[in-house]
């Protein structure tokens, strides 16, 4: 995995996205603030913040192309195919499919708050995608992220609500650390069960998710202010939340945390001995064991480390997006993270771009539901189709290769020793 990010193509792409970002940022700022002159616009922090966010989008896409080369095209084609199938379904169940699809595909760019929702969702999906790709890298089908998000959010929320009189600027780091710690522990538990007791991680993490959501609602019920009409905590104090950076959106300085998380995860996976062990186990567990890797310990810690990142998602949702604890704060985010990780092929640097792509569909779905009266669940149907298409590597071969005679007995590759996940129930 040694490559240079600064190839001529990539530099050109980043320069292009920089140019586009300036233009976009200018347009957006003018829309928000109604400033007449260029000088007045440039003087505003909103302009530079918007420029930075747009530039980040460009960098993410460049990274994605740099990581995948022409493979990027194939992944995009897969998504397009899934969208096409989704359109066929829409034609069947909706009266006005064209309008609905227009709302889905252009909606997020039509208003500044919708644009903000898209980026904000992409940030959470980036973090979830990272958490999922860490475990997928080790070929562990752990879906514990959902529960870790809930518990991470409640830990961050409890710290934000209860800790007082800290030196300035320490409350947020403390809340984030608490969330990460809780996520770590909630990942360590199924990790230990899987590593030392062979308990299937898929089932155990799904069960732990259910338990975690119950714990979350118990906590929420206990901290709900008496005046609140529904299940919600008090809004956090100003020093406990990430400051917002673009008016009309919920984007905040938490964006820096996400960037740091991406870089750290990449370093962790690609540049540390432990990351090497994870990749080794994913590639061939037996070889990893013969090579002297303590596979049990590594498996346990992989799931725990993934929990740290998932806990971070909880902190982000609580401290930045909502600025309070709300019921169902995650809302199945972990399962959306699966699609992101799959599209990125568990490649950390490709995760942000895929999160942007998928968050765009999610943001569009909300608009489609309100404007075209089509259930936003249609996007989850498209999600399922994407999963099927991406993981069925043989789709293309199946369509291309038509064998003259199909043998009644397939060759033993049905078992796919290397491919099949180790699901032993």
């Amino acid at each position: 995995m040694s490559y240079s990010i600064l190839t001529p193509r990539n530099v050109a792409l980043i320069a292009l996205s920089g140019l586009l970002s300036i233009i976009l940022a200018f347009v957006i700022t003018v829309i928000i603030t109604n400033q007449p002159t260029i000088e007045a616009v440039i003087a505003l922090p909103v302009f530079w913040n918007t420029f930075a966010v747009n530039l980040l989008i460009g960098v993410s896409l460049t990274l994605f192309i740099a990581e995948n080369g022409w493979g990027a095209l194939r992944i995009l084609l897969t998504v397009l195919l899934a969208l096409l199938i989704g359109f066929v379904i829409m034609v069947i169940i909706s009266k006005d499919p064209v309008n609905a699809y227009r709302a889905l595909l252009t909606g997020p760019l039509t208003r500044i708050n919708r644009w903000g929702n898209w980026i904000e969702d992409a940030l959470s999906l980036t973090l979830v995608g990272l958490a999922i790709s860490i475990v997928f890298r080790a070929r562990l089908f752990s879906l514990g992220a959902e529960g870790q998000i809930y518990l991470g959010a409640s830990a961050a929320g409890l710290v934000a609500l209860n800790v007082r009189d800290l030196p300035v600027g320490l409350l947020i780091p403390l809340a984030v650390t608490a969330a990460c710690l809780v996520g770590f522990l909630w990942g360590l538990l199924p990790g230990a069960l899987r590593a030392y007791l062979d308990a299937n991680e898929l089932v155990s993490t799904l069960m732990l998710n259910e338990i975690a959501t119950r714990i979350y609602s118990l906590i929420l019920a206990s901290i709900k202010p008496a005046s609140a009409g529904y299940m919600v905590s008090a809004t956090f104090a100003a020093d406990a939340v990430f400051p917002r950076i673009i008016t009309g959106t919920r984007l905040s300085t938490a964006i820096l945390f996400v960037i740091v998380a991406v870089i750290l995860t990449w370093v962790f996976i690609q540049r540390t001995p432990f990351g090497y062990q994870i990749r080794m186990i994913g590639a061939n567990p037996n070889f990893a064991r013969y090579g002297g890797i303590n596979t049990r310990r590594t498996i346990m810690l992989t799931m725990a480390v993934s929990g740290i990142v998932a806990g971070l998602v909880g902190a982000y949702l609580a401290l930045s997006v909502n600025q309070k604890l709300i019921l169902g704060i995650s809302g199945g985010l972990a399962f959306e993270g699966i699609v992101v990780a799959l599209l990125a092929r568990n490649n950390v640097l490709a995760v942000p771009a895929m999160a942007l792509l998928y968050a765009y569909l999610r943001a569009g779905a909300v608009i489609m539901q309100s404007e075209a009266n089509v259930s936003l669940e249609i996007v989850r149907v498209i999600q399922a189709i994407i999963i099927l298409l991406v993981t069925a590597d043989a789709v293309i071969n199946f369509m291309r290769v038509r064998r003259p005679t199909t043998p009644s007995n397939p060759p033993p590759r049905v078992t796919q020793a290397g491919q099949e996940p180790s699901v032993t129930l």
Partner: protein, 341 residues
Amino acid sequence: MIQNILSSIFSAVFLGSILRVVTPILLPSLGALISNRAGVVNVGLEGIMLTAAFTGVVVGAAVLSSSGDSIFAAWVGLFGGVIAGIVMALLLAFFHLQLNGDLVLGGLAINILGSAGTVAVMTQLTGDRSNTSKLVSPTMPSVNLPFLKAIPLIGDFLYTVFGNQNVVTWIALLSVGVLWFFLYRTPTGRHLRAVGENPDATASVGINVRRMRYLALALSGLFASFGGIHLSMGYLTLFQRDMTAGRGFIALATPALGNNQPLGTALASLFFGFADALGIRFGTLQIPPEYAQMIPYAATIIALVINSVSRRRAAVARARQFRETQSAASTSLPPNASTSR
């Protein structure tokens, strides 16, 4: 309070309610069992159950409004739901067996498809995103067994437990026996188990591995569909979004606890039904329902651990036995022959 709980646990009413609660766990568990035995773990049970539950309600409601015969409508609804569930299972089978897609991810996709697809179609049909209360849907009939009362001493008790159960509950109970007979007493069942034990060896004697796995996944879809139908046309008379509430995932754990045998799986399901029913009982006391709702999930994890520990112990014992017989037999063989497993 504890006395209160204990006395209510051993009442006939409570046992009857366990049977009701256990039905939608037992049926998908049998589905998980049969696919496990063929070596294809069906993670998509949850989505299959939802699809069947929803289709059953919609088909049943449509037939009911046109014919007015609720029993007939219920059976047609059951049929429609089962067909839809099997189609979902076959989709997973096609994806895995024909396209070589990953089975676990495929199962997860089926779950998302079932969960989202039902809500999307429901919204389009009724305009309601949470349930089908606007549709008048039929219920599967109950089986009334008045003769149980005539049995001396325990007659009343038996009648309260078994006398008025839903027909799907009886399908579930009978399925245990039918599945046992199928797996252990028919050639197809033996082939199916052999495919799970050793697909290469099975293929070498001319059994079509792929066809067996298609069959196993289709049958697991059939059982899971019955479970879904019970939820929406027995336990309740409407479809709610995500009404399976993780039962399809719990069903993945029950065969492991039941040693991958039909009867064992049934007993394991009963255990979960007990935990579930206990939870509902707790809810009537002054305890927040969340505590009770956690019980089945915690029980699943504990069961998973117990099973894997006991399985490993069995494997160690087998290996030791194997080594002993090997070393006894191999005194004349070269020394490295006994070390190769």
